[in-house]
């Protein structure tokens, strides 16, 4: 079995490493357990010799923002380790949060390493449609092997589900949280680059309670194509005059959707060329449409 670089698990397997890469005390590993409401529990396997004080805290730092920090009390978990809880009610700004443990011992906080992320309750997550503001936090492992969280905070939120790709366009099914589609509800596809002239293509929205669907014919965006690759971002306007809501896919355990939720691109005739058009998820897990000319490679 060569699927992964999985180290032997806790339990009857070898224990976690006792030496860290950045000096003493050694690398601290955290297991996380997600609940379906959006809360996260962190359990730290503190190696012997690590002492904490009353001021010990789990520290979350927003990447790219100097001062943005959230501290959560870190106390004994009854099993010889340490526990901190991030309740769904604590709002985290959208972005990537690095996870540290401040043991309250006067040393700088320690970057945490990932243990087991038990995210099964996030798979097929279905919050109450009436939820005002939806918080999503998905633990993941960074390229350098550290524990981090991706966070989204949206209200209302338009969750994309199945997408049916056809030669002439796509049909997206989804669910709206924190609002109900009303009179004049529609979807806007907006050309991301100014080269597209800030073009917007509008299509009607069909709603059944919180569930919605819309069909976006490719002819609209393709009509604005002037060469190269053009991404179009998709916004749902719940009612005439209401602020638009970005359509995305957030309600599961997959931190990065782009490579995993992949869809076919269809050939569509455009001005003097054939372009390829298809939906994709952005690096922020928002739904977009790409119109790619014959010379674009991605």
């Amino acid at each position: 079995m060569n699927t992964s670089t999985r180290p032997p698990a806790a339990g009857s397997g070898p224990p976690p490493p006792t030496t860290g890469t950045d000096g003493a005390p050694p690398g601290l590993t955290a297991d996380t357990i997600a609940d379906s409401a959006g809360g996260l529990t962190f359990d730290l396997a503190a190696p012997p010799g690590v002492r904490t004080t009353w001021s010990a805290a789990l520290v979350l730092r927003l990447r790219g923002a100097d001062a943005e920090e959230v501290r959560l009390p870190l106390g004994p978990n009854g099993a010889g380790g340490l526990r901190a809880v991030l309740p769904s009610t604590v709002a985290l700004a959208e972005g990537r949060w690095q996870v540290y443990a401040d043991l309250g011992d006067g040393h700088a906080p320690h970057r945490l390493l990932p243990g087991l992320n038990d995210l099964r309750s996030l798979v097929d997550r279905r919050p109450l449609a009436g939820i005002g503001r939806l918080g999503v936090r998905i633990p993941y492992t960074t390229k350098l092997g550290n524990l981090a969280l991706r966070s989204w905070l949206r209200g209302p939120h338009a969750e994309a589900g199945d997408i049916l790709v056809e030669p002439a366009g796509m049909t997206v099914e989804g669910r709206l949280y924190g609002a109900l589609p009303g009179e004049g509800a529609h979807v806007e596809a907006r050309a991301r680059r100014t080269a597209g002239g800030g073009a917007t293509v509008t299509v009607p929205l069909t709603a059944d309670g919180a569930r919605f669907s819309f069909t976006l014919p490719y002819a609209g965006p393709v009509g604005h194509w002037r060469g190269g690759g053009e991404p179009w971002d998709l916004w749902l306007v719940p009612a005439e005059g209401a602020p638009p809501v970005r359509i995305g896919r957030l309600l599961d355990d997959v931190a990065d959707k782009k490579q995993i939720f992949a869809y076919p691109a269809m050939p569509v005739p455009a001005a003097g060329a054939e372009v390829r058009v298809g939906p994709y998820y952005t690096l922020d897990n928002d739904l977009a449409l790409r119109v790619a000319g014959p010379e674009t490679t991605d």
Partner: protein, 418 residues
């Protein structure tokens, strides 16, 4: 007992390294255990070895190390002891020949255990007298080239024991006739996962493995087209990376399964991913053991697997803790998956049975089997030195005879045997 494992490279990633670490760690609870890594290319192992097991290397390939061996001229010359027909022979050299020979001549242990054919050859030929020689086969005899099989047949009689990971492969090695060599099947071990088992409520089928031809994920995806047609609320996740990714992606798109089948990429660790599923699927045409089957079972999943050589049929009790289906038959695979999808009670029952049955692969239980085997081998060696000496002489004579005969036939075909 003092036990010394000899491994290709303990600093890499792979099934042999993981299973060797698990075994060494479990044995170290009661024995003195070391792992000797022929090569070392990084400072610390990727996989956790834990305390209690000593790890050392023979050839240092860390370029920033003062003891760097890569510029030794002997490192550039082809190996003479390590068989040329072995898959890793490109990484072996006159230098590894020399270092391994010196290690085996001086080794302070009751037993030495080789973890791949080329290293077993070294152990058979070069271990000092009085030390029990054990070879492990982590693949299978029939996965080796004819040239390698001939080389092994010539040298393996000088081993005291050879272990395989399946009974099927043990039978194949017994047919090879290795006089005086005890051939025994001991499966790989899988530790208990560090989280609660799956609860069989999620509508997900999970598969995991390299995206390689031999895993036949094309068959699984075609099977899932039938599953999705009957039960569109169920979906499939395939974990792993590999050369078949683009072809599988294209097949998913061609069959219009992009809302039902997901290529998840490599996952580490895997147990958290099994726990999200309710059924595991294995579509391989060949599994020398079937580590993923045991991993999934330890997470409480019933496994639907192809009854391919060699492992699945020895791990799964068909109809009790999983299902076995013919190789390369999407219809049969879909039928077995649907039988578990459509029967919640049966799925739960099989999942519980899988959890119970897979406990036999716990590292402590597998280590106990090795402990018994090693103890018996050591007793034989100690209690009857005369017989041991006779055995060795006979083994050497026989293996000499084989070597001569095989070398002669190999020479006719221009194959180098050793």
């Amino acid at each position: 007992m003092q036990i010394s494992f000899l491994i290709h490279n303990a600093y890499g990633i792979g099934g042999t390294i993981r299973t060797t670490f698990n075994l060494a760690h479990a044995l170290s609870a009661r024995h003195d255990v070391e792992i000797v890594s022929v090569l070392r290319h990084r400072d610390t192992p990727v996989l956790d070895l834990g305390p209690g097991v000593r790890l050392r290397h023979l050839v240092d390939l860390r370029e920033d190390s003062p003891a760097y061996d890569g510029d030794d001229p002997a490192f550039a010359r082809a190996a003479k002891v390590f068989p040329a027909a072995e898959g890793r022979s490109g990484q072996y050299s006159e230098l590894t020949d020399r270092r391994i020979a010196r290690h085996l001549r001086r080794v302070e242990a009751d037993l030495v255990v080789g973890t791949r054919p080329g290293l077993n050859v070294h152990i058979a030929r070069q271990t000092r007298r009085g030390v029990v020689r054990v070879g492990q086969e982590h693949l299978t005899l029939d996965s080796h080239s004819r040239a390698l099989r001939l080389a092994l047949r010539g040298v393996y009689p000088r081993l005291d024991a050879l272990t395989t990971v399946t009974e099927a492969d043990a039978t194949a090695y017994r047919r090879l006739r290795l006089p005086g060599v005890r051939v025994e099947a001991v499966p790989n071990s899988v530790p208990a996962p560090g989280l609660a088992p799956a609860d069989a409520t999620g509508k997900w089928v999970v598969a995991a493995g390299r995206l390689a031809r031999v895993k036949r994920y094309d068959v699984l995806i075609r099977a899932f087209a039938q599953v999705a047609a009957a039960r569109p609320d169920w979906r499939l996740r395939i974990y792993g990376g590999g050369s078949e990714k683009a072809a599988l992606r294209a097949l998913i798109d061609e069959l219009g399964l992009y809302n039902h089948v997901f290529l998840m990429g490599p996952a580490n660790p895997l147990e958290t991913e099994w726990a999200k599923g309710s059924i595991a699927a294995v579509s391989s045409s060949l599994e020398s053991f079937g580590m993923t089957i045991v991993e999934a079972m330890r997470c409480g999943l019933p496994v639907v697997a192809t009854d391919c050589p060699h492992g699945p049929g020895e791990i799964i009790d068909d109809g009790v803790d999983g299902r076995l289906v013919p190789v390369g038959d999407p219809g049969a695979l879909a039928g077995a998956l649907l039988s578990l999808i459509d029967d919640d009670a049966e799925r739960r029952r099989m999942g519980r049975a899988a959890l119970t049955a897979a406990a036999r692969f716990d590292p402590a239980r597998i280590a106990a089997r090795y402990e018994t085997l090693f103890g018996q081998l050591l007793d034989e060696k100690r209690s009857n030195r005369l017989r041991g000496a006779l055995h060795r002489t006979r083994g050497a004579l026989l293996s000499g005879a084989y070597t001569t005969k095989d070398a002669a036939s190999a020479a006719l075909r221009g194959v180098r045997t050793v």
